[in-house]
């Protein structure tokens, strides 16, 4: 065999090997690149979609305030608001499945006008409040409860001023306090022993550095009685358009009092009918906690809900599945909340 043939054979082999390696390498690189580009386009598209949903009012612009109106085009922003990033309090309530007037997931998807997108919302307070019953001492006429209240944001302690209301059967009291630099405060509450049954401690915490960051927590406990009943055991509370709608699960429910609490103010709710109460429209930047006390047969109860009904989770559940999440700090009635919109395209 001549030498030239051997050289040609080696040259051809080298070329074939290099071409195959290059083809394999370029396929790998181009596939990854095309996937990234597709993800990039999808991310931009879904981000634009989420911003449209959050910062537009939708159609009709006031679809949140009427329980019979469904949105034609979905949007959460408050109509005519001059406050940046402000959402409508009633549109938020209609996202919460605990509200009797909430939208169903098909309702939301229909109004978003997209069939190939999964959509989910979660909304939470800027600060978290953690309350535990630290100790209690029963005397002849009254019982003193000590609560440990911890205010934090993403696990970091927050210095905040507190306003706590204690609601029990035929009893209402309140107390102001401040958390220390480690975010902790101890609050003593005294309840007369004549008032037994479920009691609730409504805690408001307002960050000292920004009054728009006001959070709440409600801690229910038993006062000289059995375990506290669940918040919606006898009554469902459905706030919408500054009216509180009650729906009873039992015919023997007797309502005693109805209250509205904000950080600074407390009100007795005025009944509009047997099952509706007017919620006061306050200018204060604070969530409103609506509390109903009453009895069912022999047991007294304290039911509550928040207005706006935050925290909430609505729409698709993306647990264990890939999605694009977009977070915003938004304002509802002047108070700030965190909103996360989760979206997934059809290919996810």
């Amino acid at each position: 065999m001549p030498t030239i043939s051997i050289d040609t054979f080696f040259a051809c082999s080298l070329m074939v090997a290099v071409v195959m390696a290059a083809a394999a390498l370029s396929t790998q690189i181009l596939t990854a690149h095309m996937t990234d580009t597709k993800d990039l386009n999808e991310n931009d598209y879904l981000r634009a979609l989420s911003e449209y949903i959050v910062f537009n009012t939708g159609t009709p612009a006031n679809w949140g305030s009427s329980n019979s109106v469904l949105p034609v085009i979905f949007g959460l922003a408050k109509s005519g608001s001059l406050v940046p990033n402000e959402l409508d309090i009633d549109k938020i309530c209609r996202l919460n499945y605990q509200n009797a007037f909430s939208l169903t997931y098909p309702n939301i998807l229909d109004s978003v006008k997209l069939t190939d997108v999964g959509l989910g919302f979660s909304m939470s307070q800027i600060m978290d409040i953690s309350t535990i019953l630290y100790s209690n001492t029963t005397l002849e006429d009254s019982t003193t409860y000590t609560f440990r209240i911890y205010v934090n944001q993403d696990g970091a302690p927050v210095t905040a001023s507190l306003h706590c209301y204690i609601v029990a059967s035929n009893f209402l009291s309140d107390i102001y306090n401040n958390t220390s630099t480690d975010g902790v405060s101890y609050v003593d509450i005294e309840i007369p022993n004549a008032s037994n049954g479920t009691a609730s401690l409504v805690v408001f915490a307002r960050a000292l550095h920004d009054a728009r960051m006001t959070a709440y927590e409600v801690y229910s406990f038993n006062h000289l009685s059995a375990e506290p009943t669940a918040s919606n055991a006898f009554l469902n509370l459905n706030p919408l358009n500054y009216i509180l709608w009650l729906s009873s699960n039992s015919s023997s429910v007797i309502i005693e009092r109805a209250y509205a609490f904000s950080y600074k103010y407390q009100f007795n709710l005025a009944p509009l009918s047997n099952s509706t109460y007017e919620i006061p429209a306050i200018a204060e930047k604070s969530p409103i906690i609506l509390v109903i006390t009453g009895s069912n047969d022999s047991s007294s109860f304290v039911n509550w809900t928040a207005y706006p009904q935050i925290p909430l989770d609505a729409g698709a559940n993306f647990t264990d599945s890939e999605c694009h999440a977009f977070s915003y700090v938004v304002s509802v009635n002047g108070n700030l909340y965190k909103l996360t919109v989760r979206l997934a395209g059809a290919n996810q």
């Binding site: 050289d7 040609t8 940046p84 550095h209 977070s327 700090v329 700030l336 996360t340």
Partner: protein, 142 residues
């Protein structure tokens, strides 16, 4: 000896080598994924812009600047960022672009990652109507 002296075919090996180099170097022309970084930068820039707008929504931003409450301003910005895993640095400038904050308003030591900045002009709400340029730099901390 004739076998070793016959080297006419070696040029094909050299040709093949150069062709291989040419082919492999063409892979370098495939664009990198810098557009993905651009998309993330755009998201961060939106966050920075919205944070400043929210902070100035009720006049808090200009009030804190007027009072030179830099520690409070740092807490406010930190609270308003949607993710705690975001590094920030805030700079306050007057209308002549001179820095006003002599202490750093940031969430920690400086980082080496990709950084974006948003600028926002705000005016004090008192009768002095001072104008400030606020520059917020953000970076994702992975």
């Amino acid at each position: 000896m004739k076998f070793l002296a016959d080297n006419r075919g070696q040029i094909r090996v050299i040709e093949a080598f150069f062709a291989s180099v040419l082919l492999l170097s063409s892979l370098m022309l495939i664009p990198s994924d810098h557009r993905m970084e651009n998309s993330n930068d755009e998201t961060l820039r939106n966050v920075a812009q919205r944070t400043l707008i929210t902070l100035d929504g009720d006049g808090t931003l200009s009030r804190l600047i007027e009072n030179q409450s830099w520690a409070t301003l740092r807490k406010c910005v930190q609270s308003l960022l949607p993710s705690p895993a975001t590094w920030f640095n805030l700079t306050i400038l007057d209308e002549n672009m001179n820095p006003l904050n002599l202490v750093q308003i940031c969430s920690g030591t400086s980082i080496s990652g990709n950084m974006v900045a948003a600028e926002y002009v705000c005016a004090s709400s008192d009768i002095s109507f001072n104008v400030y340029v606020v520059r917020l730099q953000l970076s994702s901390v992975s």
